[in-house]
């Protein structure tokens, strides 16, 4: 079966599962199926069919798994958001449309991701600027400064900065990897390459620390630092960078825990949420209680107790940061592990694309995006389940939030472009190869 036909089969399967979930929620809430619910469903199906057709034309040999996984996660997220706050589901649906638009623009304008390497410094600067702008004019929400309010929208620039910085790092590291792996000097036994090559990376590292201090957000800093360290390691294969990066971040983290009150509080809640179960520990404890209630099979979509009598969610921010809590309650351990497996599958496809890619930039780009996706998913699921301290990052495709869903759809587009190019070079038709050459 061709890649696109396989994708279509997967999409249909994802559609079937999503429909069942949606019907279950809708029937639970309204006790009947109304026509407008079908309209929403059709719009959703339409979005992903459109992306599928776009792939058939422009990315014929792209990976078959990524889009169906995205569709399934987005459908479950949308269903759960609809179940928690029906008004927000419509907004999220509109963001999904915007995200699909950006996906299409990315494919149509960029055409070949190799072109992105030419703009690596520009993109790096844009990424950096987005973060600086957030620090300067950002609004503090729930103690973290991650948001910009502009034109009536709340934008989380770090979601987009993440993509820009991965592209920059992939290009830069691919270029300088030899210099970086052959250090000229040693400082305290640690090999240090020439400052010329190391400089921009130092900026990245300082940026991560600045995020910790100024954005007061451990999660985002950890995410950027992880991307940075992982890419350094993958580019140079030198474990010393991992050790140094982890060590430096650990020191910075420890300092932040002591000196940044918000980070300190999050850390204290993580250590002992029972200390103040009604105020500071409330959100995390309610999350744990709600997850524990899910049991093995869950209450069923739309059937868990997620809203109080006055429609206030049982866990504050249930539709955004804590969406996984809602899913675990209603789908149970089996469903929650299923969701995690979908993320693992996504990440695996990302790395697979990286491994098969013919050039260093493509490899690092795909691996960087996959790492970013994986770490972000881990940080928030680990946070709501008290495996690690809770920080406010979104769960890709499931959480309510425009910036998250649009940025992650662009991430999917980039991965698909890399895989399309790889597969064409490795075994595409003559026609496909010629068209790829024209694009470049």
């Amino acid at each position: 079966m061709s890649r696109r036909n396989l994708e279509l089969v997967f999409l249909v399967l994802a559609g079937a599962v999503s429909t069942m979930a949606y019907v279950s929620v809708y029937a639970g809430r309204f006790r009947e199926i109304k026509s407008d619910s079908i309209v929403y469903g059709l719009v959703f199906v339409g979005i992903f069919l459109l992306l599928h057709v776009l792939e058939r034309i422009f990315l014929p040999q792209a990976d078959s798994f990524l889009l169906p996984i995205t569709a399934l996660l987005a459908a479950i997220g949308l269903t759960e958001i609809f179940r928690i706050k029906p008004d927000l589901a419509r907004v999220q649906g509109q963001w999904l449309l915007v995200g699909a638009g950006l996906f299409i623009l990315t494919v149509l304008i960029v055409r070949d991701h190799m072109k992105l390497d030419r703009y690596r410094y520009l993109l790096g600067a844009v990424g950096l600027a987005l973060l600086v702008v957030t620090i300067v004019i950002g609004t503090t929400v729930n103690g973290s400064k991650l948001w910009i309010h502009a034109f009536g929208f709340s934008i989380q620039p770090s979601e987009f900065a993440k993509l820009a910085i991965v592209i920059f790092l992939a290009g830069y590291l691919d270029d300088k990897k030899v210099m970086l792996s052959v250090p000229q000097r040693h400082v305290l036994g640690v090999p240090v390459p020439a400052f010329k090559y190391f400089g921009p990376l130092l900026v990245m590292w300082i940026m991560s620390l600045a995020m910790l201090v100024f954005m007061k957000d451990f999660g985002m800093a950890l995410l950027f630092m992880s991307i940075f360290v992982a890419l350094m390691y993958m580019a140079t294969a030198r474990a010393v960078y991992v050790a140094a990066g982890a060590g430096l971040f650990a020191i910075a983290g420890a300092i932040a825990v002591y000196f940044v009150p918000h980070v300190h509080e999050r850390f204290a809640i993580w250590l002992d949420p029972w200390k103040d179960p009604l105020v500071s520990g409330y959100q995390l404890l309610q999350s744990l209680f709600t997850i524990a209630d899910g049991g093995i099979t869950g209450a069923g979509f739309g059937r868990g107790y997620l809203l109080y009598a006055n429609h206030v969610p049982v866990v504050p921010e249930l539709q955004t940061d804590f969406i996984f809590t809602a899913v675990a309650n209603e789908m149970g351990l089996l469903g929650a592990v299923g969701i995690i497996l979908l993320y693992v599958l996504f990440v695996w496809r990302g790395f697979r694309i990286a491994v098969y890619a013919p050039d260093g930039f493509s490899k690092l780009l795909a691996a960087g995006l996959a790492t970013a996706f994986a770490i972000q998913t881990f940080i928030i699921i680990g946070g709501v389940t008290r495996l690690i301290p809770l920080t406010g990052v979104t769960l890709p495709f499931l959480s309510y939030g425009g910036s998250s869903v649009t940025a992650n759809l662009v991430l999917v587009a980039l991965l698909l472009m890399v895989s399309n190019r790889t597969n064409i070079i490795r075994g595409g038709t003559e026609l496909e190869r010629r068209r790829l050459a024209e694009k470049g």
């Binding site: 404890l285 209680f289 209630d293 049991g295 109080y308 592990v337 695996w348 881990f378 680990g382 495996l387």
Partner: protein
């Protein structure tokens, strides 16, 4: 490069495995442990899947019913706000209180004494069906009591002195129980304490209404008779202090009956000192002071009356100097009493000295319609002798006929009672009226307290008592 990438992927995979292990730990291994945490109110949500039994009034009208939304039963209140503080709430956010908490096992059908059908259901693993509870609260009387309190702070307790059945229990200010969650933050911060069930939790200086207890002790011990003669000069000097009358009045020569009728402090101070600390405290204990009245409610929702110090209820053996005893005989000093306790005092006198156990459950009806249990009135305390009770009854009739309590009088029905006015020192009074009617054959006993008023008990509380008793006695049936 590929090898490093594989390694990074393996690391991320390990992280995801850690997530799965942790989830299994929470959702399977420790699930029960999480459910048993006192901070976890989700068990309430589980029980909301059970059709919660109705709480109905004595007339059979539904006070608290249920409404099903998305598979969960929520309380609704088809007949408006009726005794919300006594009924309590059933909220996943804020827990349970009042009758909803006390009778939860019955209302959710999980109580072991709900009969065979219930037991069979349990055996077959079926969802239990909640039993409904019929209260002794008479909605018609309750509503009037609430109306009378509207715009004021205070409480009204009405009970049947012969059985102890609670006919009305009103607490003001009140709230609408229908959307408690939305109002919670406002209600819980409100300094006028609308969530407080004043009849059983409100502690007030009883003032002159306590003179009934002092009189009971005086008559019981033979220290005085209704005709004992006293002379009032407006001031009774004792132990370096003095006892004066309300408003600085001077009454001159008076007998004991008149002293109660006009509420003469100096006479009661003298009687108090004649009785002494021990006998006065013993009399109070006989009426229920220093004990938690056995009205079945969650811990802390019924509080004992008695002499209170900075650290709460004092021991009945706590030291009192003669000046304290003198003021205590007038209901001042350190006395604090709940409206329920004062209604029990009135009820004890009305019922020939027998204080009945207060209760609010008339009957419990299982989901299949069978009556599982019916109220069995029981005596709680023997407060005084029948003779003393009869003498007090006559004296209290005088209070209403020609004394401070004339505003409590009813056309064609003899009312007996006692007023109280406790000056709070901030320029406001606590106004009391306790009493019962008809005096010859008492069917209702009442306690009314009004906070923050400029008026006396006779002015602010007695008219409310009249209106509520009139309504109660006009009912075709009472518990």
């Amino acid at each position: 490069m590929n090898k490093a990438m594989s390694r990074v992927f393996i690391i991320t995979a390990v992280l995801f495995v850690a997530l799965v292990v942790n989830l299994t730990w929470i959702m399977v291994v420790r699930a029960q442990w999480f459910q048993d945490r006192p901070e976890n109110k989700r068990s309430i949500a589980k029980e909301m899947k059970i059709k919660r039994g109705d709480i109905v009034g004595y007339d059979g009208s539904v006070i608290a019913g249920t409404q099903r939304r998305s598979g969960y039963y929520y309380r609704d209140y088809p007949n408006g706000t009726i005794a919300p503080q006594l009924l309590g709430y059933d909220s996943v956010q804020y827990g349970r209180s009042g009758i909803e908490a006390q009778l939860n096992d019955v209302l959710t059908g999980q109580s072991s004494d709900l009969g065979v059908q219930n037991w069979v259901d349990k055996l077959l693993g079926r969802q239990p069906k909640g039993a409904s509870v019929k209260l002794t609260i008479v909605p018609g009387v309750q509503k009037v009591a609430q109306q009378e309190l509207q715009g004021q702070r205070g409480a009204i307790v009405v009970l049947d002195p012969r059985t102890g059945a609670l006919i009305a229990s009103a607490s003001a200010p009140t709230y609408d129980p229908a959307n408690l969650e939305d109002q919670w933050s406002r209600l819980s911060k409100d300094t006028s304490a609308p969530l407080l069930n004043r009849p059983t939790q409100g502690l007030y200086v009883p003032g002159s209404s306590f003179k009934v207890v002092t009189a009971s002790a005086g008559l019981d011990t033979g220290a005085v008779t209704p005709d004992s003669q006293f002379v009032d000069t407006g001031t009774y000097v004792i132990f370096g202090g003095k006892v004066t009358n309300y408003g600085g009045e001077v009454f001159g020569p008076n007998n004991f009956t008149y002293a109660l009728t006009a509420s003469i402090n100096t006479t009661f101070a003298k009687v108090g000192n004649k009785l002494g600390r021990k006998r006065l405290i013993t009399a109070a204990q006989q009426y229920g002071f220093y004990k938690t009245p056995p009205l079945p409610l969650p811990a802390g929702e019924v509080v004992p009356s008695g002499r209170y110090g900075k650290k709460g209820l004092l021991s009945p053996n706590a030291f009192m100097d003669p000046l304290s005893v003198a003021w205590a005989a007038c209901g001042q000093d350190q006395w604090l009493a709940t409206p329920l306790q004062m209604a029990l005092v009135a009820g004890g006198v009305a019922n020939g000295g027998h204080v009945m156990k207060p209760y609010y459950t008339q009957e419990i009806v299982a989901a299949d319609g069978t009556v599982v249990s019916k109220a069995q009135p029981e005596q709680w305390l023997l407060a005084t002798t029948a003779t003393t009770a009869a003498e007090l009854n006559t004296m209290m009739q005088n209070v209403v006929n020609s004394g401070t309590g004339t505003a409590a009088a009813l056309q064609g029905i003899q009312v007996a009672g006692k007023t109280g006015t406790a000056e709070k020192g901030d320029g406001t009074n606590l106004a009391w009226f306790i009493g019962f009617a008809p005096a010859q054959d008492p069917k209702v006993a009442i306690a009314v307290v009004i906070e923050n008023t400029q008026a006396t008990g006779g002015e602010a509380a007695a008219p409310l008592a009249a209106a509520v008793m009139k309504t109660a006695l006009a009912q075709s049936s009472l518990p």
